[in-house]
Amino acid sequence: MQKNLKQALIAICVAACIVAFATGVASAAKEQFKFGLLLVGPYNDHGWSQAHYEAGHYVEKNVSGTQMIYIDKVNPADRPGVTIPQLVDDLVEKGAKLIIANSDDMKDGTREAAAMHPDVKFLHISGDDVLTGKSGKNLTNLMGRMEYGKMMAGFAAAMTTKTGKIGYLGPLVNEETRRLAASCYLGARYAWEKVLKKDVKDLKFQVTWIGFWFNIPGVTADPTQVAQNFYDTGYDVVISGIDTTEAVVVAGQKRNEGKKVWAVPYDYVGACDGASAVCLGVPYFNWGPSYTELIKEAMGGSWSPKWLWYGPDWKNINDPDTSTIGFVYGAALGDDAKSALNTFIADLGTGKLNLFKGPLSYQDGTEFLKTGVSATDKQIWYMEQLLKGMDGQSSAK
């Protein structure tokens, strides 16, 4: 009788151990590192937001134990009444340990949410809160040095244009968009003057802003109309600076009507797809590697607030595992332009060429960089105006 009891006790103990072990294993397997991704536009916009969305998947694939929860169209026009802190509350409830906010438009909301959730890590794309010291210990800023990509875009545009008129379809006006438009112009001017040996006076570079990162009917200018207007008034290459693909779509339509026009889209590696007749190439962001690095830091506990500005991997700017900025050549780019662009990229990579070097003047003629002086990161980041030679609004009127 007593023996039986003893055996039974042992059996129960063993069973309990097995169950405890099994649940322990199960919960360890279940315990994933969840990260939330807030996208300002649709996840499939073939532009800015899709680049982030695919980077999220890249992380899920390459860092084991990670899981993404994303929500797209996070902006007051698409989701009335929904705020960033509200979405962050929800993602944190769902177990997210790190939140990525992918838009300049989310700057204030992200900072507010980060203050409310000191234990959660925040990655704000394109912001400068760490530089300005406005944010706490749990927020990091990340941006890509798209200036290089934009120089390549401008270069390709100037090599291609027959009319010497390049249009820039700009989003809203702020420091980021000013420096990117200016980079395009610098690339275009270089190709025009140094490669094509033409007079810079014959190069027209017009910037037209729509007022936001993408079309909001009734609120912004319609990017489709802006692009049409460019093509109808003699601009034969339009470079896009907005999150979505209107420029390359309108170019395709104009091409079907028989016009010799081109476009350079932006943001997303696949933005040229389906527009091979007009697409000169696309400068794009590849957020996968930097996301991976930062998420690994957060998982490993070595997180610290940083302001990061990552450039291309000059060994191969299109390496998906190392390069934050890339440029894919479009099918419509001519052979001469292609080989000139190859040299241009190589020279940028070696540092032989630095386009942000004086003498450079702002649009109103005031000095930006003295002769021979190279711009610092901060000078580029905080450009106050467009450059001399560019047409269009430098800031709000």
Partner: protein, 363 residues
Amino acid sequence: MTMAQITSPGPAQLLKFVREFGLTLTVVVLFTTLVLLIAGAPPLDAYFYILKGSLGSWVKISHVLKTWVPLTLCGAGLLYTFRIGLWNIGIEGQVMMGAVFATLTLRLGLNSQWPMWFLGLSFAAAALGGGLWALIAGFLKTKGGVNEIFAGLGMNFVAQGLILWLIFGPWKRPGVASMSGTEIFPQSLWLPYISSLRLSPAAIALAVTAVLITAVMLRYSRIGLCLKAIGGNSQACVLYGLTPTHFMLLAMMFAGGFAGIAGCLQVSGVYHRLLPAISSNYGYLALLVVMLSNYNVWVVPFVAFFFACLNVGSIQLPMMLQLDSSLAGVIQGALVLATLAVSAWRGRRAKIFEAQTQEAVAK
């Protein structure tokens, strides 16, 4: 029943209302389920996520209340205009003008030593802004003979245009031209809130007060009686010495005032700045809320709460099921249509019943 013929509900009537509401809800659930099935989504999961996403935690309920407050304020305001038989579509613009006047006041208080004074003042200014904006539509109606629906819609566009101009022009952020909105206000000018709950007691108090004031005004005051009389028959009431135009303007001002306060809360309590979509469509949504509440002041807060739950909870659909969150709009729209259909059906049935009774009496 027209919107002006509202009597205080007895138990039998309340039972009838509940029965009809149940019928309406069934129709809507069937319809929404059909939509979900067509979209290829699991309907039960969708409803579950909306429920959990709106009432699943205290913080979620706070976010629901954040939506509930402006909806209830607008709903309370609309009761005045509906009572007198006016369709105040312009309520959306009145919310926007409230937001504009509030922003103006808060901007004046930017470097002030007493930010709380400016915060308080912003509510008064917002009520004034919304009220005046509504008054313009009211004058167009009473003096110009312009239907208040068209006047209101027109004024909504003007208000939106004004906001866009302010954001892109005089109130732009330094060096920036963006439709993102104006510079965020310092925290001293935010409506105080309990940070762990994300809840502003002042906002809740405002909404509750608005409902109470409206209930007392409409049910027990002379103004309420006059509004009802004019709403019932605007020609006959002249015989009693009432001037319909005066009361129409008064009703518009009340509606605009409440809407303006809702706009102020959007600025000081939710977004802490002015942005193009500041009204969040709460004005239009409140029209549906009031219609669905059968123009009953005690029902409005509950329907508003239900709509707020739908609005907040539906964000789960894209997050958890990769569905478009506009389903909330589908449900809300279907609810109103179903209500109208049920009420039309009830009206027809009543007529048939009346005819049968008369026939029986004649025999």
